[in-house]
């Protein structure tokens, strides 16, 4: 009996030691991973007592702030339509958007010595207050984009083609982050996907929006002649089981490439793509950064393996009805490259962040502009986009085609690039939105 009891004592001691070790594993080894989880609300709950930093637009207009008494502080978004960019910070549903990307600054622990942080937070119980973030957005332009989109499903990207600073980034439908916790279940279940930022994360069929880029690639290869005549003018192209004809009947016998873009006739661009060949087409897509996600302070995406499918018909790929899908952000930066002599800027959304001592520190651009195209090639293609360029794209479903608009301004020494996408709107509506934004941006300069 004594031997059994002694063995039992050892077993019990071993079990207790195992529990202590396992607790240490979670408390030490896995600690940082666990604390960083989105379903750990402690960081957010701490902001009930310590205010989170504010978010401003480029002219110091307030976009997000913390209001209320310590102990019951709450996040407030004076301009809720910007939710797709600003995101949210919720004790129940984690955080997203700028609130997530700039959390270290907004929460207040960025750039603070870990020992100081431990001392202030854990020992004194007075964690550092959150600090401000200034975005590149221009609230007036953003408001104009949101008003113009209104109830239409789509996205708008307006950026400074020189610096890559994004001036307006709209995605509709969107949500109201002020009442997120009440509406979460509905938002998640909503088939219109209001939580999705369509400008940076939705991949769309480019369709006609791709044609100027294909032309630019041909110009780069010395194979572009805008005056070559193609016949018949309305030669349709077979896409899957459908025949794709001109967007606007041209009433012409023969047609130039330039005219084909105006009327939305796929034949010439398809022929150009076939002349260039699949590898060249793939190089053009890659050069315009269409196959890789852009780095931004928001999540971005890109189609994977686009155009690599052997079954992909070269002509179909060239007219933007192949495997390649892009986000409006992709196209906006490609337009910026065409507008700026072939140099693509690096997109930027954060202009400056606040130091622990309260001063503003400008945010360095994420990289240098990249030359994607010779200046001469850009100059050759630029006339195609003069006064804006509208196009449609067929989607896989039988629904209405996508309406794209892309443009830049001013026409001489271009400074701004805009892309508008409407999921079920007309190209005229898209063009109106784009022109309005370009005019406003130029007027406000």
């Amino acid at each position: 009996m004594n031997q059994q009891l002694k063995r039992l004592t050892l077993a019990v001691a071993a079990a207790f030691v195992a529990i202590a070790l396992a607790a240490g594993y979670w408390g030490f080894v896995q600690r940082d991973d666990l604390l960083a989880r989105a379903d750990n609300p402690r960081r957010v709950l701490a902001e009930l007592r310590t205010p989170r930093g504010a978010v401003y637009d480029r002219h110091d207009q307030l976009l997000a702030e913390t209001v209320g008494e310590p102990g019951a502080l709450a996040r407030n978004y004076p301009y809720p339509a910007l939710a797709s960019v600003l995101g949210y910070v919720s004790p129940f549903y984690g955080s997203a958007g700028i609130e997530a990307a700039l959390d270290a600054v907004l929460h207040g622990d960025a750039g603070i010595d870990p020992v100081d942080l431990f001392w202030q937070t854990t020992v004194l119980g007075t964690p550092p207050a959150g600090r401000g973030v200034r975005l590149t957005l221009d609230l007036a332009l953003q408001r104009q984009a949101d008003v113009a989109l209104a109830a239409q499903t789509g996205a708008v990207v307006l950026l400074d083609a020189q610096t890559g600073e994004i001036l307006a980034l709209a995605s509709h439908p969107t949500f109201n982050a002020n009442v997120l916790d009440d509406q979460w279940e509905d938002l998640v279940a909503d088939p219109a996907a209001p939580l999705l930022n369509r400008a940076t994360l939705a991949l769309y069929q480019p369709g006609g929006a791709l044609w100027p880029l294909v032309a630019a690639g041909a110009a780069q290869a010395g194979q572009l002649d805008l005056t070559t005549l193609y016949a018949p003018a309305d030669q349709p192209l077979r896409v899957d089981d459908a025949l794709l004809g001109c967007r606007v009947p041209p009433r012409l016998e023969v047609i130039t490439l330039r005219e084909s873009l105006h009327f939305g006739c796929p034949g010439p661009t398809g022929a150009l793509g076939e002349a260039l060949g699949a590898p060249a087409l793939q190089r053009i897509f890659a050069a315009f950064h269409l196959t890789t996600p852009h780095a931004l302070s928001l999540p971005t995406t890109a189609a994977t393996g686009a155009g690599q499918a052997p079954a992909d018909d070269v002509g179909v790929a060239a007219i933007g009805q192949g495997e390649l899908t892009i986000t409006p952000l992709h196209l906006a930066l490609a337009v910026a490259a065409l507008a700026r002599d072939g140099e693509m800027p690096v997109p930027q959304l954060v202009l400056a962040t606040q130091d622990p001592d309260g001063g503003w520190r400008p945010e360095a651009p994420a990289g240098e502009p990249v030359r994607v195209l010779a200046a001469a090639a850009a100059a050759q293609v630029r006339p195609l986009l003069t006064n804006g360029y509208a196009a449609t794209a067929l989607t896989g479903t039988a629904g209405q085609p996508l309406a794209w608009f892309m443009g830049f301004g001013p026409q001489v020494d271009a400074r701004y690039a805009v892309v508008v996408l409407l999921e079920s709107g007309t190209v005229e509506a898209a063009a109106a939105i784009g022109h309005g934004l370009l005019d406003a941006a130029i007027a406000g300069k």
Binding site: L5, V12, A15, G125
Partner: protein
């Protein structure tokens, strides 16, 4: 150790426990100020009620136990009261009304402990009428199948309720089962585990095979298991099985029982996994909680995050967010403790639980007869298994089985049961009481 030395040691330990309680209650009173970061007037008398009740219970219990059992174990009372006082503090901080209710239960539990300690004469009736006691426990438990309620209004109906008081009969049944097994095994040890081939008694009648002697015990144990399984009380079923196996090992000295028991447990787990949703959910939530962290494994994931949030020194009493874990005051009090008191607090509780168990095993080693050895060993095993099952479950060492953490978790039946267990251990630790007479032992171990 002389009597006065033992007394002094117990007094010193009680003083330490008292110091801890004063400090912990002071911390409770300071919580509102700590949260606000500024001095606030103390609100409410709850902390004082808790401290006063605890003090009265400790003083009365120590005084009466010293009178009745002069040479009792000096470690049990201080450690048990320290743990249950700590429990009161933790529960009150999580849910103040539950904290006060548990304070009242501490009075009831102390009375139950003293009742067992003060009962005149010896406790032979406990041993002699083993079937009666166990049957009574079984009937009470079986009643929950028909009349069972759940005080929270939902969930498993494991309680019997009347007039606002709720009793979980299984908590009492588990002690009666240990008493039954200790009694039966000590009386029938030779017949059960004899290595000689059955022959005939001296009067010529045939000796029954050992299997026959297993029948009553298996029958009684089988009833208990059946009731608990039909209630889907996973924790209690596992606990009963584990205690049964360990006590068989203690009585027989054959490791094969433990191996067979472990194999059976594994088989039961596999069968349960295949047949019962409740088992499958628990196992899946244990094996990969990250698969469904917001759904079925929400509790365990939040528990681990709480552990991580606590780190080494914890976030401070009242400054954690342990209420995020569902039923933090009961099954998951171990995680709530880890968040606010850190790994240091957690290790202290693991250590203190170990002290109670190891003292129980020590008492078993020093018990003068087989029944005393088996009873003390069984009770210590019960405590050890229960503590390890729930602590291991909360930190994802083993699948979660719903059990209370002895002495700390919220729950009146659980606290009373744990104190009854300690009352029995205290009696067993005092060998000069008359109730343990070696006369009906078959052979000293």
């Amino acid at each position: 150790m002389s009597l006065s030395e033992t007394r002094r040691r117990e007094t010193n330990l009680l003083l330490l426990a008292g110091l801890f309680m004063v400090a912990a209650v002071a911390a409770l009173a300071l919580i509102p100020s700590a949260r606000a970061g500024a001095w606030l007037p103390f609100g409410g008398a709850d902390p004082l009620i808790i401290l006063a009740t605890w003090l009265v219970c400790v003083l009365v219990a120590t005084w009466l136990v010293r009178r009745r059992l002069p040479t009792h174990d000096p470690y049990l009372l201080p450690v048990v009261y320290l743990l249950s006082g700590f429990g009161l503090v933790l529960i009150w901080r999580l849910t103040p009304t539950f904290g006060l209710r548990q304070t009242a239960w501490l009075g009831v539990a102390t009375a139950a402990l003293l009742g067992l300690v003060l009962l005149p004469g010896d406790l032979r009736w406990l041993r002699r009428f083993r079937y009666t006691w166990l049957a009574a426990g079984l009937i009470l438990t079986a009643l929950t199948l028909f009349l069972g309620v759940n005080p929270s209004g939902q969930g498993d109906r494991l309680w019997l309720g009347c007039c606002g008081l709720y009793l979980q009969p299984a908590e009492i049944l588990k002690i009666l089962l240990v008493v039954f097994l200790a009694s039966y095994l000590s009386d029938r040890r030779e017949q059960l585990f004899a290595t000689v081939i059955p022959g005939t008694w001296s009067d010529g009648s045939p000796r029954p095979r050992a299997a026959v002697y297993f029948m009553p015990m298996l029958l009684m144990w089988g009833f208990s298991a059946l009731i608990l399984i039909s209630q889907r009380d996973l924790g209690m079923s596992t606990l009963f099985f584990g205690v049964f196996i360990v006590m068989l090992y203690l009585a027989s000295g054959q490791v094969s029982y433990v191996i067979a028991g472990a194999a059976l447990l594994l088989l039961a787990a596999l069968l349960g996994y295949a047949l019962f949703d409740v088992v499958r959910l628990r196992v899946e939530a244990w094996w990969n909680p990250w698969a469904d962290p917001s759904g079925r494994s929400y509790q365990i994931v939040q528990s681990l995050i709480a552990l991580a949030a606590g780190g080494l020194v914890g976030r401070g009493p009242g400054l954690g967010a342990a209420n995020l874990i569902p039923v933090a005051h009961s099954d998951f009090i171990f995680a709530a403790l880890a968040e606010e008191w850190g790994l240091l607090g957690l290790l202290a509780v693991v250590g203190l639980q170990a002290v109670v168990v190891l003292r129980g095993l020590r008492i078993a080693l020093e018990a003068p007869n087989l029944f005393g050895q088996l009873l003390a060993g069984g009770l210590a095993t019960l405590l050890a298994l229960q503590a390890c099952l729930i602590m291991g479950g909360v930190i994802k060492l083993i699948p979660l089985t719903g059990l209370t953490l002895p002495f700390l978790s919220y729950g009146g039946s659980s606290l009373v049961s744990a104190f009854c267990l300690v009352g029995l251990l205290l009696r067993l630790s005092c060998p000069d009481t008359r109730w343990q007479r070696p006369r009906d032992d078959l052979a000293p171990a």
